[in-house]
Symmetry: C2
Subunit: 196 residues, 2 copies
């Protein structure tokens, strides 16, 4: 059995998106990340920025709220985005060999045995340096920005998948990108993907 799809879950700032794109380039397949947002926007009518947030993060303090609203009032915008996003990802995986970054793709494709599931993370210092270099400074300290994003992404993952974010057992391979560097992670993942 050989792999057809790579899903990359990643901590904010760990370089998962860059690694996903470069890995896809090296393998001669497509990497889906922001393109999924475009497609959700097209199908749902929601704004891109709105989808970008709702499609991967739960706002602070909204968790209980969100769960209650699901139970009593039917699907929220968040749930509609989740549904459209899920259908797009399942469809992509059926159609072509590709890399899919984020959006709980590992969970959505968990019943397929041709998916290499990857989780990328890094220490706070590495990620802090990286987000300031790439996205610039803001009023908030980079450590605070990272902690917030980590919490929101974790909450999102748990609400939608009922699994623990960052648990190694949900993935085939997990790497600390800060320890190994981008080049090495790409080489290692490419080799693992082509292994069988």
């Amino acid at each position: 059995m050989s792999y057809k799809i790579i899903t990359i879950s990643r901590q904010f700032g760990s370089g998962g998106r860059t690694i996903g794109r470069r890995l896809a380039d090296e393998l001669g397949i497509k990497c889906y990340d922001r393109q999924i947002i475009d497609q959700v926007a097209e199908e749902s009518g929601f704004d891109r920025e709105y989808i970008k947030e709702k499609g991967e993060y739960v706002p602070h303090g909204r968790i209980g709220n969100l769960m209650n609203r699901w139970s009593y009032y039917g699907p929220t915008n968040e749930e509609r985005i989740w549904q459209i996003q899920s259908d797009i990802i399942l469809d992509l995986a059926d159609k072509e060999s590709c890399v899919i970054v984020g959006r709980c793709a590992d969970y959505l494709l968990k019943d397929r045995d041709d998916v290499l599931k990857v989780f990328l993370h890094a220490d706070m210092a590495y990620r802090a340096e990286r987000i300031v270099r790439l996205y610039g400074e803001t009023d908030q300290k980079p450590e605070k920005r990272l902690t917030d994003k980590d919490k929101q992404r974790r909450a999102y993952y748990q609400i939608y998948t009922d699994m623990e974010y960052g648990d190694a057992r949900n993935y085939h391979i997990c790497l600390n990108t800060g320890a190994f560097g981008e080049e090495y992670c790409i080489k290692l993942l490419k080799d693992a993907f082509l292994k069988q």
Copy 2:
């Protein structure tokens, strides 16, 4: 910076011990696993089987109990074993390049930057087949044996390290041994260890 030590944390039945030994052989360094138990036995006077259990597992239903006893009555046998075991591991890491399997070595050596921290896991079916093949049948179904060991090892890790067992962020590299197979895991870890 190059690595000197490899710590291997592993799920019961995932083949972590075998991989650790073979990896050490390939690297021409020692692998410490059962030898640590022998040394604890020598230094503490406790029986080997007793140490084997207490040095990595918390018995079912004992967690609250154990915590209370620590607080009110000073060190228990478990804590004495933990202390001796910790000293042995810190000492080993100072003395020589080696592979250390289990016993929260990743946590004990967390302040060193020459330690490659590895977590190995595998799906239930792979582990069940493996433990029956290696250790034989018992009255209990292999799945039940695995679930019990998982719970006990997780509890032990949490009590002593205050970290989440199996959280990818505590390790440099995590692998599903069932997905990749023993040979590939050894090759990959050897390469990662020698990388820098």
